[in-house]
Amino acid sequence: MSQSFAAEAETDEDALLQVENLQTVFFTDKETIRAVDGVSFDIKRGETVGIVGESGSGKSVTARSIMGLIDSPGRIVEGSIKYKGDELVGNSEKQWRQYRGGEIAMIFQDPLSSLNPVYTVGNQIKEALRLHQGLRGAEATQEAIELLEAVGIPDAPRRVKEFPHEFSGGMRQRAVIATALACEPDLLIADEPTTALDVTIQAQILDLLMELKDERDIGIMFITHDMGVIAEVADRVNVMYAGEIVEQAPVENLYQNPMHPYTQGLLRSIPGRTERGEKLATMEGEVPTANAPATDCRFAPRCPEAFEGCSEVHPVPVQVSKDGSDHTASCLLYPEDVPRDEAVEMHRSRSTATEEVVEE
């Protein structure tokens, strides 16, 4: 298949979650921050979709947008989030609450701070059970114990009555996962669930999540900045940079054939992929804050392959797959099989077309 532009608004009926051109903007006194700027992806049942990027690239804001947890001064200004076909954008607080927990649950980065230290672990799991399964009293305790066992906490009947500080880091994250499972969600958003944990514990938690995914046939949206972790768990990967998805591919494709210079840079900076003794590659600079709709490539200032077109034209996603799988990258270098000027021109016309849609 020759490289071509990605088909627009590719709707997939069996997708659990469809995010389309999501734009979440924070209006502060000083500036307008476009934390998420036109992000689109799908998650199917039983699939793990990874979102990877540096700090400040908009990963967590994407997750919070899906949960409806964007607080003032932030707002979803554009786009659509469809869950099982229902539009979530524009929901009232009360409507959001119908999806939170029971449909979409979230696991946060720091397991210590996502459990309230003054309530027992069991208490917090039981609260979720009460809300979503209507269980109370001894029945709820029994269910909480079973959930703790399901996430691999030994001696659960005793542990259920302990406070979070009596749990180790890995145990706490298991307890947080148990709380999420108590809601019986169909989609689990894991926002850097292993970042605060030891490497050995990380692997256990990742295994646990994958097991639960298969057992319960849930979709997982896995957010991390760790390329190693994402290789471990994800089926598909979205690479985010400055509020945009710059590359989207099945996990093997991405690792074997990274197309976007940013992804290439990220992969080069993983220890272990380079030869021993070789200097580890770094990317100079940091993720810029997007204040206005993009008119250029936001990665251009850090890009080793940037040329003059990069500061004038905003790249749009292009099919770059060589083997027929769904692999897109937003870079003016692609499509590779046409002359560069022509490629830039194609990007220019496509991005102005999108802007016009946005204007409407």
Binding site: M67, L69, D71, S72, P73, E93, R97, Q98, Y99, R100, G101, G102, A105, M106, F108, Q109, D110, S113, S114, L115, N116, P117, V118, Y119, T120, Q124, E127, A128, L131, H132, G137, A138, T141, R158, K161, E162, F163, E166, V176, T179, A180, A182, C183
Partner: protein, 494 residues
């Protein structure tokens, strides 16, 4: 360490107690016995609040039919309360009287066991404080019994708090003084060498017996007449602390410039100070808690509006507003309760929330920003539950400390206004008025009139601050030393 006890599983407290009733029964039996001794006094205290004025005031503002209904309904608990208040109690002036006359040959007549009034009064006051200490100790024992036998967790974070407070001498000093002050307020009628009714409110409707040396027999005189002979006005006429007046009355703290007993005045003044402090702080604390949670949770516009309103309240000159409103509302029924006491409490309550709100706004924001609030929200906990379980308790621990500190400020404010003659009007006793009455005599032998109530105000305010310091340090050991923010909350009176 196991953090819980197997045997309790999921049982509610009631079942845990019925499974092992021994310790609880023993504790409760002693507590009931202790309270029974003074149950009548407690009811007297409750009934001494001006319910009739309150009910009357509300009723007269309602349509006639409703108002009558309210009066009728209110009369039942009133009758019941009065009946209960008549139950005899142990520590009364009837049982241990300290008022009598000294017969030239037979010694003191009418006093407890014929002791001198000073000793009889000291016995009664000592018993009252011993009794109060026993009750407080027994409450503490109750906590220990619960902790040892009935609490299902064998350790909770509050245990650390208690342990830290046990080594906090400054906080304990505050606790002792505050407790002594509260006991003084509650037991005011029994504690004074005479009653407020006889000595202060209606001295010409009450009489005392005294030994008239000229006539060689017992004479009756009105208290008013006796008061005229016991004025402390410096110079030749002074009845200082621990003195007897010509009518054989004992004055532990001396007399006022109008001859009334200073200790009785102060004991009843403690009641009014405590009442105003608690009502005012209760009002402002509730407003501050509600607003801090509202602003922390909704942020943005809600926060901005509250900031503006708080600024508006704080930019009004509080003293002038208080003076104006006390004058405007002086003849309103609210102004007549406690001779302006309730009015002052309401005004302080309504005008001191911005300070409290400002100091707990930070902690409330902090609580609302915690990941566990997000986590709870992410699994669909309704807003009200979220606030109730995660934000309010955390905010309240801070608020409580600042409320304790602000009580001192309200008391100083009340005393200050009364000193100026615009706070609480006679005859209701108030410490600030005693200071005002004695200010002409500070440099004479009658120094006690101003100095003793002045010291008392200072001591109580310092004690409230010490107590809240202690609670704060116990609550959060990292806070030792305190910051600038508490100045805003504690900051003096009007």
């Amino acid at each position: 360490m196991s953090a819980y006890r197997e045997e309790f599983e999921d049982k509610p407290v009631r079942e845990r107690i019925s499974d092992n009733p021994g310790p609880a029964t023993r504790w409760a039996a002693v507590m009931v016995a202790l309270l029974a001794l003074e149950f009548g006094a407690l009811m007297t205290f409750i009934m001494s609040l001006p319910w009739d004025l309150l009910v009357g005031g509300v009723a007269s503002n309602l349509p006639a039919g409703l108002g009558e209904g309210l009066r009728t309904i209110a009369s039942y608990p009133a009758a019941a309360g009065n009946a209960l208040a008549d139950i005899p109690t142990l520590l009364t002036r009837d049982l241990i009287p300290n008022q009598g006359y000294e017969h030239p040959t037979n010694g003191w007549q009418g006093t407890f066991l014929g002791l001198s009034p000073a000793v009889a009064w000291a016995v009664r006051a000592t018993l009252i404080y011993a009794y109060s200490a026993a009750v407080l100790y027994w409450v503490w024992r109750g906590y220990l019994v619960f902790r040892e036998h009935y609490r299902y967790a064998d350790w909770t974070p509050s245990d650390d708090m208690v342990e830290r407070f046990r080594t906090h001498r400054w906080g304990q000093f505050g606790l002792v003084i505050v407790a002594a002050f509260i006991v003084m307020a509650i037991f005011a009628p029994a504690l004074g060498p005479t009653t407020a009714e006889a000595n202060i409110r209606a001295p010409y409707s009450n009489t005392i017996q005294h030994w008239d040396e000229d006539m060689g027999q017992v004479q009756e005189a009105t208290v008013g007449t006796a008061n005229l002979a016991s004025q402390s006005q410096g110079g030749g006429s002074n009845f200082g602390p621990g003195s007897y007046d010509p009518y054989g009355r004992f004055h532990p703290f001396g007399t006022l410039s109008n001859g009334k007993d200073l200790f009785t005045f102060m004991a009843h003044g403690a009641r009014i100070s405590l009442f105003i402090g608690i009502v005012a702080i209760g009002i402002s604390g509730s407003i501050a808690l509600a607003l801090s949670i509202l602003t922390a949770y909704y942020k943005g516009l809600a926060d901005l509006v509250t900031v503006v309103v708080a600024d508006a309240f704080q930019s009004m000159p509080r003293l002038l507003v208080l003076i104006m409103l006390s004058v405007v509302l002086a003849d309103h029924w609210i102004g007549t309760i406690f001779d302006g006491g309730l009015l002052l409490a309401l005004l302080f309550g309504i005008w001191s929330w911005p300070g409290l709100w400002r100091v707990v706004r930070g902690p409330a924001f902090q609580a609302a920003e915690q990941d566990w609030v997000d986590a709870a929200e992410s699994y669909g906990q309704p807003t009200w539950d979220l606030v109730k379980t995660h934000i309010a308790p955390y905010t309240f621990t801070y608020l409580f400390i600042y409320m304790a500190m602000s009580i001192g400020g309200v008391m100083i404010g009340t005393a200050g206004l009364s000193f100026l003659g615009i706070g609480i009007n006679p005859p209701t006793p108030e410490w600030g008025r005693a200071v005002a009455l004695g200010q002409d005599y500070v440099a004479t032998q009658s120094w006690h009139i101003s100095i003793l109530p002045g010291i008392a105000v200072t001591l109580v305010v310092v004690a409230f601050n010490a107590l809240s310091d202690g609670i704060r340090d116990a609550n959060d050991p990292q806070s030792e030393g305190g910051g600038a923010e508490e100045v805003g909350a504690a900051g003096g009176g009007a």
